[in-house]
């Protein structure tokens, strides 16, 4: 946040548009570069959540799988808050870890 952003916020003004342009571009380019349409991304998100939930209990509503991009590298970023580890026997393998407040899992999908 810049000084200008803070002043805009305090005065209830619309923030300067360059920041908005920057954010919108980053998002749209992440999608353009990966060639994934929103439908496929949604399907992948569901499947990833499904797999992860076999091992740990996750918050399905809070779970977020999205694309981020930096330096022409697009990364698939999944942010999955874990409620509790599945008791052994319920999941396919011994579930790792206890309640981690901010567990994250991320994977690069393109060089």
């Amino acid at each position: 946040m810049t000084l200008r952003d803070l002043i805009d916020k305090l005065l209830g003004r619309q923030p300067a548009s360059a920041g908005t342009a920057r954010q919108r571009l980053r998002l749209v380019l992440a999608h353009d570069r990966s060639d994934l349409n929103p439908e496929l991304l949604e399907q992948m998100r569901r499947e990833i959540l499904e797999v992860v939930s076999r091992y740990v209990e996750i918050d399905m509503d809070e779970g977020d799988v999205s694309l981020a991009t930096e330096d022409r590298v697009t990364a698939l970023v999944a942010n999955l808050p874990i409620r509790a580890a599945r008791p052994p026997g319920n999941g396919p393998a011994g579930s790792p870890g206890d309640d981690d407040p901010e567990p994250r899992f991320s994977a690069r999908i393109s060089p």
Binding site: M1, T2, L3, R4, L6, I7, A16, S17, A18, G19, A21, R22, R24, L25, R26, V28, L29, D32, R33, D71, R72
Partner: protein
């Protein structure tokens, strides 16, 4: 000069109207003025305009089409610029050429031109379809030109992806139509924003300049005249950097003097 040591530079943007042809014309004149034998190739067969910006529209006899068909020699088709004899234009042929033109045809014609010139600038059409791919086939390096607007940057990104796939490199960036005031008040994408997002080295910055319109009206590229406008200087500097000279770049949002500019800079301070 053999084809190996000539440079075949594609000038492209993806989006139309961001300044490809204006850059090609001005860069061509500037390179020629600096002593390099330069040819500009109009690869925009659908909507050709390079002849018009160079003021050569009335001197075209043959085009790339006749050269490819073998019905004229290359030197008959090349239009030499009167004031800048180091520069020649190879005009685009009839738009119907698009129906049969292949990447190999463009390679062939660029190689022929390269035998006589140090620099071959290829003015690409807008878009990412066949016409662009033909133009790209003839190039070994590229200049991507864009403006600090979301649509232009997005389209530039598409084009960069295609150039990467084709192995065209180096790819360098020219940022056109920069408005320093808007950048200072953060109402326009900053120079760093664009270079970071596209991850390309910056070859030049051209500020918005009314003289560009005046010069296109006359068919006399800015780099041709003695007139010293900001855009003319910027184009000449692009040519010098392209030739390996170390000409420092300026950040327009940081160059401005006075109280307003200083307040503008203060406003850009990151607080958290």
């Amino acid at each position: 000069m053999t084809a190996q040591s000539s440079r075949f530079i594609l000038i492209c943007s993806g989006k139309g109207g961001v300044g490809k042809t204006t850059l090609t014309a001005n860069l061509g004149i500037a390179l020629a003025h600096q002593g390099a034998r330069t040819a500009v190739l109009d690869a925009d067969f659908g909507l050709r305009n390079l002849d018009l910006l160079l003021g050569l529209e009335n001197r075209i006899v043959y085009t790339a089409q006749e050269v490819l068909a073998g019905s004229c020699r290359l030197d008959q088709a090349l239009v030499k610029h009167k004031q800048e004899p180091n520069l020649a234009l190879l005009p685009a042929g009839n738009p119907r050429m698009l129906e049969w033109l292949k990447p190999d045809d463009m390679r062939k014609i660029a190689a022929m031109v390269g035998e006589q010139f140090d620099y071959v600038l290829i003015d690409a059409p807008a878009g990412v379809e066949g016409g662009f791919r033909n133009a790209m086939a003839a190039a070994t390096e590229a200049i991507v030109i864009t403006t600090p607007e979301v649509s232009a940057v997005r389209d530039a990104d598409r084009v960069i992806g295609l150039l990467n796939c084709e192995g065209v490199k180096p790819i360098q960036l020219v940022l056109n139509r920069v408005r320093p005031k808007m950048m200072a008040s953060q109402e326009m994408l900053a120079v760093d924003d664009v270079t970071d997002i596209l991850a390309l080295p910056l070859l030049g910055l051209v500020v918005e300049d009314e003289q560009v319109i005046v010069s296109t009206n006359r068919g006399e590229p800015l780099t041709l005249g003695a007139g010293d406008s900001p855009a003319a200087r910027a184009y000449s500097n692009v040519a010098r950097r392209l030739r390996g000279e170390d000409v420092p770049l300026i950040d327009p949002s940081k160059e401005r003097q006075g109280l307003r500019a200083r307040i503008g800079r203060l406003m850009q301070t990151k607080i958290f």
